[in-house]
Protein backbone atom coordinates (compact mmCIF):
# COMPACT_ATOMS: atom_id res chain seq x y z
CA UNK A 1 0.00 0.00 0.00
CA UNK A 2 1.33 3.48 -0.94
CA UNK A 3 -0.03 6.80 0.22
CA UNK A 4 0.21 10.00 -1.81
CA UNK A 5 1.45 12.54 0.73
CA UNK A 6 0.45 16.03 -0.47
CA UNK A 7 3.87 17.30 0.60
CA UNK A 8 6.27 14.41 -0.13
CA UNK A 9 4.54 12.52 -2.95
CA UNK A 10 3.85 8.78 -3.16
CA UNK A 11 5.42 6.97 -0.22
CA UNK A 12 5.45 3.46 1.19
CA UNK A 13 2.95 2.56 3.92
CA UNK A 14 5.87 1.91 6.31
CA UNK A 15 6.45 5.65 6.59
CA UNK A 16 2.97 6.30 7.97
CA UNK A 17 1.34 5.89 11.36
CA UNK A 18 -2.35 4.97 11.48
CA UNK A 19 -4.48 6.72 14.04
CA UNK A 20 -8.00 5.64 13.09
CA UNK A 21 -11.26 7.16 11.96
CA UNK A 22 -10.88 10.82 10.97
CA UNK A 23 -13.63 11.68 13.42
CA UNK A 24 -10.65 12.25 15.70
CA UNK A 25 -10.59 15.72 14.15
CA UNK A 26 -14.11 16.47 15.39
CA UNK A 27 -13.38 16.80 19.08
CA UNK A 28 -16.53 17.67 21.04
CA UNK A 29 -16.68 20.53 23.50
CA UNK A 30 -15.54 19.55 27.00
CA UNK A 31 -19.10 19.91 28.30
CA UNK A 32 -20.76 18.16 25.33
CA UNK A 33 -21.89 15.30 27.55
CA UNK A 34 -21.19 11.57 27.92
CA UNK A 35 -23.00 10.61 24.75
CA UNK A 36 -20.99 12.94 22.52
CA UNK A 37 -17.74 11.83 24.12
CA UNK A 38 -18.69 8.16 23.81
CA UNK A 39 -19.34 8.76 20.10
CA UNK A 40 -15.99 10.47 19.75
CA UNK A 41 -13.69 8.26 21.80
CA UNK A 42 -15.18 4.79 21.37
CA UNK A 43 -18.01 4.30 18.89
CA UNK A 44 -17.13 3.78 15.23
CA UNK A 45 -19.06 3.48 11.96
CA UNK A 46 -16.51 0.89 10.86
CA UNK A 47 -17.93 0.70 7.32
CA UNK A 48 -17.06 -2.12 4.93
CA UNK A 49 -16.22 0.37 2.22
CA UNK A 50 -15.01 3.96 1.97
CA UNK A 51 -13.55 5.30 5.17
CA UNK A 52 -12.11 8.67 6.04
CA UNK A 53 -9.16 8.16 8.35
CA UNK A 54 -6.26 9.88 9.97
CA UNK A 55 -2.65 8.98 9.17
CA UNK A 56 0.59 10.72 10.08
CA UNK A 57 3.57 10.83 7.74
CA UNK A 58 5.68 9.86 10.68
CA UNK A 59 8.90 8.99 8.85
CA UNK A 60 8.53 11.81 6.35
CA UNK A 61 7.31 15.37 6.72
CA UNK A 62 5.38 14.61 9.91
CA UNK A 63 2.12 15.98 8.52
CA UNK A 64 -1.22 14.58 9.65
CA UNK A 65 -3.28 13.45 6.68
CA UNK A 66 -6.91 12.65 6.05
CA UNK A 67 -6.92 9.60 3.80
CA UNK A 68 -10.04 8.35 2.02
CA UNK A 69 -9.45 4.64 1.76
CA UNK A 70 -11.65 1.70 0.92
CA UNK A 71 -11.32 -0.66 3.89
CA UNK A 72 -12.35 -3.66 1.83
CA UNK A 73 -10.04 -3.19 -1.17
CA UNK A 74 -7.35 -0.90 0.37
CA UNK A 75 -7.81 1.48 -2.58
CA UNK A 76 -7.01 5.12 -1.76
CA UNK A 77 -8.87 7.85 -3.66
CA UNK A 78 -8.04 11.07 -1.83
CA UNK A 79 -5.41 12.38 0.54
CA UNK A 80 -5.54 15.85 2.08
CA UNK A 81 -3.70 17.63 4.85
CA UNK A 82 -5.56 17.37 8.13
CA UNK A 83 -4.92 21.03 8.82
CA UNK A 84 -7.07 21.86 5.79
CA UNK A 85 -9.90 19.70 7.11
CA UNK A 86 -10.16 21.37 10.49
Amino acid sequence: MRIQCPICGSRDRREFYYKGDALALKRPAPDAGAEAWDDYVYLRDNPAGWHSELWQHEAGCGAWLVVERNITSHEIRKVTLAEDAT
Binding site: Y42, R44, H51, I71, S73
Partner: protein
Protein backbone atom coordinates in the same frame (compact mmCIF):
# COMPACT_ATOMS: atom_id res chain seq x y z
CA UNK B 1 -23.41 -41.20 15.56
CA UNK B 2 -20.98 -41.42 18.43
CA UNK B 3 -17.25 -41.66 17.98
CA UNK B 4 -15.23 -44.29 19.80
CA UNK B 5 -12.09 -46.31 19.27
CA UNK B 6 -14.21 -49.34 18.52
CA UNK B 7 -16.20 -47.42 15.89
CA UNK B 8 -13.01 -46.27 14.17
CA UNK B 9 -11.71 -49.85 14.13
CA UNK B 10 -14.97 -51.19 12.74
CA UNK B 11 -15.18 -48.52 10.04
CA UNK B 12 -11.55 -49.09 9.14
CA UNK B 13 -12.25 -52.76 8.55
CA UNK B 14 -15.44 -52.17 6.58
CA UNK B 15 -14.31 -49.55 4.09
CA UNK B 16 -15.34 -46.45 6.10
CA UNK B 17 -18.84 -46.60 4.62
CA UNK B 18 -20.71 -46.01 7.86
CA UNK B 19 -19.74 -42.38 8.48
CA UNK B 20 -22.53 -39.85 8.14
CA UNK B 21 -22.51 -36.06 7.79
CA UNK B 22 -21.90 -34.50 11.19
CA UNK B 23 -24.87 -32.17 10.94
CA UNK B 24 -28.06 -31.76 8.92
CA UNK B 25 -28.68 -29.13 6.25
CA UNK B 26 -32.14 -27.94 7.32
CA UNK B 27 -34.45 -25.40 5.71
CA UNK B 28 -35.06 -22.41 7.96
CA UNK B 29 -38.32 -22.58 9.89
CA UNK B 30 -40.56 -19.52 10.07
CA UNK B 31 -39.90 -18.94 13.77
CA UNK B 32 -37.38 -19.79 16.48
CA UNK B 33 -37.01 -18.99 20.15
CA UNK B 34 -33.48 -17.77 19.58
CA UNK B 35 -31.60 -16.82 16.42
CA UNK B 36 -27.83 -16.60 16.52
CA UNK B 37 -26.32 -14.46 13.77
CA UNK B 38 -22.94 -15.91 12.90
CA UNK B 39 -21.98 -19.58 12.73
CA UNK B 40 -18.43 -19.13 13.95
CA UNK B 41 -16.87 -20.64 17.03
CA UNK B 42 -18.77 -18.46 19.48
CA UNK B 43 -22.14 -18.80 17.75
CA UNK B 44 -21.85 -22.57 17.50
CA UNK B 45 -20.64 -22.91 21.09
CA UNK B 46 -23.52 -20.73 22.24
CA UNK B 47 -25.99 -22.94 20.37
CA UNK B 48 -24.43 -26.07 21.82
CA UNK B 49 -24.63 -24.82 25.40
CA UNK B 50 -28.16 -23.44 24.93
CA UNK B 51 -29.24 -26.93 23.93
CA UNK B 52 -27.09 -29.02 26.25
CA UNK B 53 -27.18 -26.91 29.43
CA UNK B 54 -30.42 -24.98 29.19
CA UNK B 55 -32.59 -27.38 27.16
CA UNK B 56 -33.36 -24.65 24.61
CA UNK B 57 -33.29 -26.35 21.23
CA UNK B 58 -35.63 -24.24 19.11
CA UNK B 59 -32.60 -22.30 17.96
CA UNK B 60 -31.17 -21.39 14.57
CA UNK B 61 -27.61 -20.42 13.79
CA UNK B 62 -27.51 -18.30 10.63
CA UNK B 63 -24.20 -18.34 8.79
CA UNK B 64 -23.52 -16.25 5.68
CA UNK B 65 -20.75 -18.57 4.46
CA UNK B 66 -20.10 -22.06 5.70
CA UNK B 67 -19.39 -23.58 9.10
CA UNK B 68 -15.72 -23.17 9.95
CA UNK B 69 -15.07 -20.66 7.17
CA UNK B 70 -14.57 -17.56 9.30
CA UNK B 71 -12.11 -16.67 12.01
CA UNK B 72 -12.59 -20.00 13.76
CA UNK B 73 -10.83 -21.60 10.80
CA UNK B 74 -8.29 -18.82 10.28
CA UNK B 75 -6.57 -18.39 13.63
CA UNK B 76 -3.33 -19.70 15.11
CA UNK B 77 -5.19 -22.07 17.46
CA UNK B 78 -3.70 -20.96 20.77
CA UNK B 79 -5.52 -21.72 24.01
CA UNK B 80 -4.41 -20.02 27.24
CA UNK B 81 -5.56 -18.39 30.46
CA UNK B 82 -2.85 -15.85 31.22
CA UNK B 83 -4.83 -12.65 31.63
CA UNK B 84 -4.33 -10.48 34.66
CA UNK B 85 -7.20 -8.05 35.10
CA UNK B 86 -10.41 -8.82 36.99
CA UNK B 87 -13.11 -9.33 34.39
CA UNK B 88 -10.80 -11.10 31.98
CA UNK B 89 -9.03 -13.26 34.53
CA UNK B 90 -12.00 -15.30 35.75
CA UNK B 91 -13.46 -15.52 32.25
CA UNK B 92 -10.40 -17.02 30.55
CA UNK B 93 -9.85 -19.28 33.53
CA UNK B 94 -13.42 -20.50 33.05
CA UNK B 95 -12.72 -21.01 29.35
CA UNK B 96 -9.59 -23.09 29.94
CA UNK B 97 -11.52 -25.35 32.31
CA UNK B 98 -14.19 -25.85 29.64
CA UNK B 99 -11.44 -26.65 27.11
CA UNK B 100 -10.10 -29.33 29.44
CA UNK B 101 -13.42 -31.19 29.41
CA UNK B 102 -14.43 -30.27 25.88
CA UNK B 103 -13.58 -33.47 24.06
CA UNK B 104 -15.60 -35.57 26.51
CA UNK B 105 -18.47 -33.08 26.44
CA UNK B 106 -18.60 -33.02 22.64
CA UNK B 107 -17.52 -36.62 22.03
CA UNK B 108 -15.24 -35.06 19.45
CA UNK B 109 -11.48 -35.00 19.13
CA UNK B 110 -10.57 -31.31 19.00
CA UNK B 111 -6.90 -32.26 19.43
CA UNK B 112 -6.57 -30.02 22.46
CA UNK B 113 -2.88 -30.19 23.27
CA UNK B 114 -1.68 -28.65 26.53
CA UNK B 115 1.89 -28.37 25.35
CA UNK B 116 2.63 -25.26 27.41
CA UNK B 117 3.14 -21.65 26.48
CA UNK B 118 6.37 -19.78 27.17
CA UNK B 119 6.27 -15.97 27.08
CA UNK B 120 9.89 -14.84 26.84
CA UNK B 121 11.19 -11.72 28.55
CA UNK B 122 14.30 -9.74 27.76
CA UNK B 123 14.88 -7.16 30.49
CA UNK B 124 14.63 -6.76 34.26
CA UNK B 125 11.53 -4.64 33.91
CA UNK B 126 9.84 -7.20 31.73
CA UNK B 127 10.76 -9.93 34.21
CA UNK B 128 9.03 -8.00 36.98
CA UNK B 129 5.98 -7.54 34.80
CA UNK B 130 5.81 -11.22 33.91
CA UNK B 131 6.37 -12.26 37.53
CA UNK B 132 3.41 -10.12 38.46
CA UNK B 133 1.35 -11.64 35.67
CA UNK B 134 2.35 -15.12 36.83
CA UNK B 135 1.20 -14.30 40.35
CA UNK B 136 -2.12 -13.05 39.01
CA UNK B 137 -2.53 -16.32 37.13
CA UNK B 138 -1.74 -18.34 40.25
CA UNK B 139 -4.18 -16.28 42.28
CA UNK B 140 -6.96 -16.90 39.75
CA UNK B 141 -6.31 -20.63 40.30
CA UNK B 142 -4.38 -21.33 37.13
CA UNK B 143 -0.75 -22.29 36.68
CA UNK B 144 2.33 -20.20 36.01
CA UNK B 145 6.03 -20.74 36.52
CA UNK B 146 8.77 -18.16 36.12
CA UNK B 147 11.78 -19.65 34.30
CA UNK B 148 15.25 -18.14 34.32
CA UNK B 149 17.53 -18.26 31.29
CA UNK B 150 18.72 -21.77 32.09
CA UNK B 151 15.16 -22.92 32.66
CA UNK B 152 14.21 -21.66 29.22
CA UNK B 153 17.36 -23.14 27.69
CA UNK B 154 16.42 -26.59 28.96
CA UNK B 155 13.07 -26.43 27.19
CA UNK B 156 14.02 -24.36 24.13
CA UNK B 157 17.71 -24.97 23.41
CA UNK B 158 17.37 -23.74 19.83
CA UNK B 159 16.67 -20.09 20.62
CA UNK B 160 19.31 -17.44 20.05
CA UNK B 161 20.02 -16.65 23.71
CA UNK B 162 23.00 -14.42 23.18
CA UNK B 163 21.49 -12.00 20.70
CA UNK B 164 23.15 -8.73 21.51
CA UNK B 165 20.13 -6.48 21.48
CA UNK B 166 17.57 -8.60 23.28
CA UNK B 167 19.18 -11.41 25.29
CA UNK B 168 16.68 -13.84 26.78
CA UNK B 169 16.35 -13.27 30.53
CA UNK B 170 13.78 -16.02 31.02
CA UNK B 171 10.17 -16.88 30.36
CA UNK B 172 6.77 -17.24 31.96
CA UNK B 173 5.70 -20.85 31.53
CA UNK B 174 1.97 -21.59 31.42
CA UNK B 175 1.88 -25.40 31.35
CA UNK B 176 -1.86 -25.77 30.80
CA UNK B 177 -1.79 -23.50 27.78
CA UNK B 178 -1.41 -24.97 24.33
CA UNK B 179 -3.27 -25.39 21.08
CA UNK B 180 -6.35 -27.09 19.63
CA UNK B 181 -7.36 -28.07 16.13
CA UNK B 182 -9.46 -25.04 15.19
CA UNK B 183 -11.65 -26.65 12.50
CA UNK B 184 -12.45 -29.54 14.80
CA UNK B 185 -13.62 -27.10 17.45
CA UNK B 186 -16.11 -25.60 15.01
CA UNK B 187 -17.20 -29.01 13.79
CA UNK B 188 -17.50 -30.44 17.29
CA UNK B 189 -19.69 -27.61 18.54
CA UNK B 190 -21.73 -27.69 15.32
CA UNK B 191 -22.37 -31.39 15.74
CA UNK B 192 -23.13 -30.95 19.43
CA UNK B 193 -25.74 -28.29 18.67
CA UNK B 194 -27.22 -30.04 15.64
CA UNK B 195 -27.58 -33.39 17.40
CA UNK B 196 -29.77 -31.71 20.02
CA UNK B 197 -32.06 -30.14 17.42
CA UNK B 198 -30.48 -26.77 16.69
CA UNK B 199 -30.78 -25.77 13.01
CA UNK B 200 -27.46 -24.74 11.49
CA UNK B 201 -28.38 -22.78 8.38
CA UNK B 202 -25.46 -22.05 6.09
CA UNK B 203 -25.41 -19.73 3.09
CA UNK B 204 -27.98 -17.62 4.87
CA UNK B 205 -27.06 -13.97 5.10
CA UNK B 206 -28.94 -11.75 7.50
CA UNK B 207 -30.00 -8.62 5.62
CA UNK B 208 -32.11 -6.92 8.26
CA UNK B 209 -33.10 -7.06 11.91
CA UNK B 210 -36.79 -6.54 12.60
CA UNK B 211 -37.57 -4.31 15.55
CA UNK B 212 -41.03 -3.16 16.65
CA UNK B 213 -41.50 -0.68 19.47
CA UNK B 214 -38.03 -1.34 20.81
CA UNK B 215 -38.46 -5.11 20.78
CA UNK B 216 -36.71 -7.45 18.36
CA UNK B 217 -39.14 -9.64 16.41
CA UNK B 218 -36.92 -11.48 13.95
CA UNK B 219 -34.56 -11.10 11.05
CA UNK B 220 -34.66 -10.72 7.28
CA UNK B 221 -32.34 -13.10 5.46
CA UNK B 222 -31.27 -14.07 1.97
CA UNK B 223 -33.51 -17.11 2.54
CA UNK B 224 -36.54 -15.16 3.69
CA UNK B 225 -37.79 -13.62 6.94
CA UNK B 226 -37.49 -15.57 10.18
CA UNK B 227 -39.25 -14.57 13.39
CA UNK B 228 -37.52 -14.90 16.74
CA UNK B 229 -38.07 -13.98 20.36
CA UNK B 230 -34.38 -13.30 20.90
CA UNK B 231 -31.56 -12.52 18.51
CA UNK B 232 -27.86 -12.78 19.35
CA UNK B 233 -25.40 -10.86 17.18
CA UNK B 234 -22.19 -12.90 17.14
CA UNK B 235 -20.59 -11.71 13.92
CA UNK B 236 -16.97 -11.14 15.00
CA UNK B 237 -15.20 -8.97 12.41
CA UNK B 238 -18.53 -8.10 10.77
CA UNK B 239 -20.21 -7.08 14.02
CA UNK B 240 -20.49 -3.44 13.01
CA UNK B 241 -22.48 -4.26 9.87
CA UNK B 242 -24.85 -6.49 11.82
CA UNK B 243 -25.39 -3.92 14.54
CA UNK B 244 -25.94 -1.27 11.88
CA UNK B 245 -29.06 -3.21 10.81
CA UNK B 246 -30.40 -2.57 14.29
CA UNK B 247 -29.44 1.09 14.08
CA UNK B 248 -26.56 0.66 16.50
CA UNK B 249 -22.97 1.86 16.39
CA UNK B 250 -20.55 -0.40 18.21
CA UNK B 251 -17.23 0.56 19.79
CA UNK B 252 -15.51 -1.65 17.24
CA UNK B 253 -12.97 -1.09 14.48
CA UNK B 254 -12.18 -4.06 12.21
CA UNK B 255 -8.54 -4.84 11.53
CA UNK B 256 -6.68 -7.52 9.64
CA UNK B 257 -4.35 -9.90 11.45
CA UNK B 258 -2.07 -12.10 9.37
CA UNK B 259 -0.88 -15.61 10.10
CA UNK B 260 1.66 -17.80 8.37
CA UNK B 261 2.52 -21.46 8.03
CA UNK B 262 5.61 -23.18 6.71
CA UNK B 263 5.95 -26.48 4.92
CA UNK B 264 5.60 -29.53 7.15
CA UNK B 265 8.68 -30.33 9.22
CA UNK B 266 9.60 -33.06 11.65
CA UNK B 267 8.71 -32.20 15.27
CA UNK B 268 11.03 -29.43 16.44
CA UNK B 269 9.01 -26.88 18.40
CA UNK B 270 7.21 -28.53 21.29
CA UNK B 271 5.58 -25.48 22.88
CA UNK B 272 3.88 -22.24 22.00
CA UNK B 273 6.55 -19.53 22.20
CA UNK B 274 6.09 -15.78 22.22
CA UNK B 275 8.91 -13.30 21.70
CA UNK B 276 8.92 -10.44 24.18
CA UNK B 277 10.80 -7.90 22.08
CA UNK B 278 9.01 -8.18 18.78
CA UNK B 279 5.47 -9.22 18.12
CA UNK B 280 6.05 -12.83 17.15
CA UNK B 281 4.60 -16.12 18.34
CA UNK B 282 4.98 -19.63 17.02
CA UNK B 283 3.89 -23.22 17.48
CA UNK B 284 4.08 -26.35 15.37
CA UNK B 285 0.90 -27.92 14.08
CA UNK B 286 0.26 -31.63 14.25
CA UNK B 287 0.86 -31.75 10.49
CA UNK B 288 4.32 -30.34 11.10
CA UNK B 289 3.91 -26.83 9.75
CA UNK B 290 5.28 -24.00 11.84
CA UNK B 291 2.32 -21.73 12.52
CA UNK B 292 3.26 -18.19 13.42
CA UNK B 293 2.03 -14.66 13.48
CA UNK B 294 2.61 -11.21 14.87
CA UNK B 295 0.90 -7.90 15.08
CA UNK B 296 -2.03 -6.38 13.25
CA UNK B 297 -1.32 -4.63 9.97
CA UNK B 298 -2.46 -1.67 12.11
CA UNK B 299 -4.95 -0.08 9.70
CA UNK B 300 -8.67 -0.80 9.48
CA UNK B 301 -9.38 -3.57 6.98
CA UNK B 302 -12.07 -5.97 5.87
CA UNK B 303 -9.76 -7.62 3.34
CA UNK B 304 -8.94 -11.08 4.62
CA UNK B 305 -5.35 -10.57 3.49
CA UNK B 306 -2.55 -8.36 4.69
CA UNK B 307 0.32 -6.35 3.33
CA UNK B 308 4.01 -7.08 2.95
CA UNK B 309 5.49 -4.71 5.57
CA UNK B 310 3.95 -6.77 8.32
CA UNK B 311 5.14 -10.02 6.73
CA UNK B 312 8.65 -8.61 6.79
CA UNK B 313 8.31 -7.46 10.39
CA UNK B 314 7.04 -10.81 11.64
CA UNK B 315 9.67 -12.80 9.79
CA UNK B 316 12.45 -10.52 11.03
CA UNK B 317 11.31 -11.01 14.60
CA UNK B 318 11.16 -14.77 14.09
CA UNK B 319 14.63 -14.90 12.59
CA UNK B 320 16.02 -12.83 15.47
CA UNK B 321 14.59 -15.19 18.03
CA UNK B 322 15.16 -18.56 16.37
CA UNK B 323 17.43 -18.40 13.32
CA UNK B 324 16.88 -22.12 12.70
CA UNK B 325 13.49 -21.50 11.13
CA UNK B 326 15.10 -19.52 8.31
CA UNK B 327 15.53 -22.65 6.25
CA UNK B 328 11.86 -23.54 6.35
CA UNK B 329 9.85 -22.43 3.35
CA UNK B 330 6.76 -20.41 4.02
CA UNK B 331 3.80 -22.20 2.55
CA UNK B 332 0.84 -19.91 3.08
CA UNK B 333 -0.18 -16.67 4.70
CA UNK B 334 -3.66 -15.39 5.30
CA UNK B 335 -5.59 -12.78 7.21
CA UNK B 336 -8.58 -12.73 9.51
CA UNK B 337 -10.80 -9.80 10.40
CA UNK B 338 -10.53 -8.81 14.05
CA UNK B 339 -13.28 -6.93 15.85
CA UNK B 340 -11.02 -4.64 17.86
CA UNK B 341 -12.60 -3.05 20.91
CA UNK B 342 -11.35 0.18 22.50
CA UNK B 343 -9.97 -1.54 25.62
CA UNK B 344 -8.97 -4.86 24.05
CA UNK B 345 -11.61 -6.78 25.99
CA UNK B 346 -14.83 -8.28 24.67
CA UNK B 347 -18.44 -7.23 24.97
CA UNK B 348 -21.09 -9.77 25.98
CA UNK B 349 -24.28 -7.99 26.82
CA UNK B 350 -27.87 -7.04 26.16
CA UNK B 351 -28.50 -4.02 23.96
CA UNK B 352 -30.99 -1.20 24.42
CA UNK B 353 -33.32 -3.17 22.14
CA UNK B 354 -35.35 -5.73 24.03
CA UNK B 355 -34.39 -9.28 23.04
CA UNK B 356 -31.32 -8.22 21.08
CA UNK B 357 -27.96 -9.35 22.46
CA UNK B 358 -24.41 -8.81 21.33
CA UNK B 359 -21.10 -10.62 21.65
CA UNK B 360 -18.19 -8.88 19.97
CA UNK B 361 -14.87 -7.17 20.56
CA UNK B 362 -12.92 -10.43 20.62
CA UNK B 363 -9.93 -8.68 19.10
CA UNK B 364 -7.35 -11.31 18.20
CA UNK B 365 -8.12 -13.52 21.20
CA UNK B 366 -11.44 -15.04 20.24
CA UNK B 367 -10.34 -18.61 19.67
CA UNK B 368 -9.30 -19.49 23.21
CA UNK B 369 -12.53 -17.88 24.38
CA UNK B 370 -14.79 -20.01 22.16
CA UNK B 371 -16.07 -22.42 24.84
CA UNK B 372 -16.60 -19.78 27.52
CA UNK B 373 -17.80 -17.13 25.08
CA UNK B 374 -20.53 -19.52 23.94
CA UNK B 375 -21.18 -20.74 27.46
CA UNK B 376 -21.72 -17.34 29.09
CA UNK B 377 -23.70 -16.03 26.11
CA UNK B 378 -26.00 -19.06 26.35
CA UNK B 379 -26.37 -18.32 30.07
CA UNK B 380 -27.30 -14.71 29.36
CA UNK B 381 -29.78 -15.66 26.62
CA UNK B 382 -31.40 -18.42 28.66
CA UNK B 383 -31.56 -16.83 32.09
CA UNK B 384 -31.30 -13.11 31.32
CA UNK B 385 -28.58 -13.01 34.00
CA UNK B 386 -24.88 -12.38 33.49
CA UNK B 387 -22.79 -15.47 34.10
CA UNK B 388 -20.70 -14.98 37.27
CA UNK B 389 -17.51 -15.32 35.20
CA UNK B 390 -18.56 -12.70 32.66
CA UNK B 391 -19.95 -9.80 34.63
CA UNK B 392 -17.37 -7.30 33.40
CA UNK B 393 -18.02 -7.31 29.66
CA UNK B 394 -20.65 -4.58 29.67
CA UNK B 395 -21.43 -2.60 26.55
CA UNK B 396 -21.95 0.60 28.53
CA UNK B 397 -18.54 0.56 30.22
CA UNK B 398 -17.18 2.88 27.57
CA UNK B 399 -19.84 5.52 27.93
CA UNK B 400 -19.76 5.41 31.72
CA UNK B 401 -16.01 4.92 32.01
CA UNK B 402 -16.66 2.40 34.78
CA UNK B 403 -15.15 -1.05 34.36
CA UNK B 404 -12.86 -0.51 31.37
CA UNK B 405 -10.70 -3.64 31.09
CA UNK B 406 -7.56 -2.35 29.38
CA UNK B 407 -5.18 -5.29 29.76
CA UNK B 408 -2.29 -3.62 27.97
CA UNK B 409 -2.96 -0.08 29.22
CA UNK B 410 -2.74 1.40 25.73
CA UNK B 411 -5.77 3.64 25.91
CA UNK B 412 -8.81 3.95 23.71
CA UNK B 413 -7.19 3.48 20.29
CA UNK B 414 -8.70 0.31 18.82
CA UNK B 415 -5.63 -1.02 17.00
CA UNK B 416 -3.23 -0.74 19.93
CA UNK B 417 -4.52 -3.70 21.96
Amino acid sequence: MRFSGLKILKEGLTGNKGWRPHWRDPQPKSEYDIIIIGGGGHGLACAHYLASQHGITNVAVLERGYIGGGNVGRNTTIVRANYSLPGNSEFYSHSLKLWEGLEQDLNYNVMHSQRGIINLFHSDGQRDDFARRGNMMLSQGDDAELLDTEGVRKKLPYLDFEQTRFPIFGGLFHARGGTARHDAVAWGFARGADSRGVDLIQKCEVTGIDIQNGVVTGVQTSRGPIRAKKVAMMGAGRSSQIADMAGMRLPIESHVLQAFVTEGLKPCIDHVITYGMGHFYISQSDKGGLVFGGDLDMYASYAARGNLPLVEHVVEAGMTLMPMIGKAKMLRSWGGIMDMSPDGSPIIDRTHIDGLFVSCGWCYGGFKAVPAGGHVMAHLLATDQYHPNATGFRLDRFRSGVGIIDEEATGSQHNLH
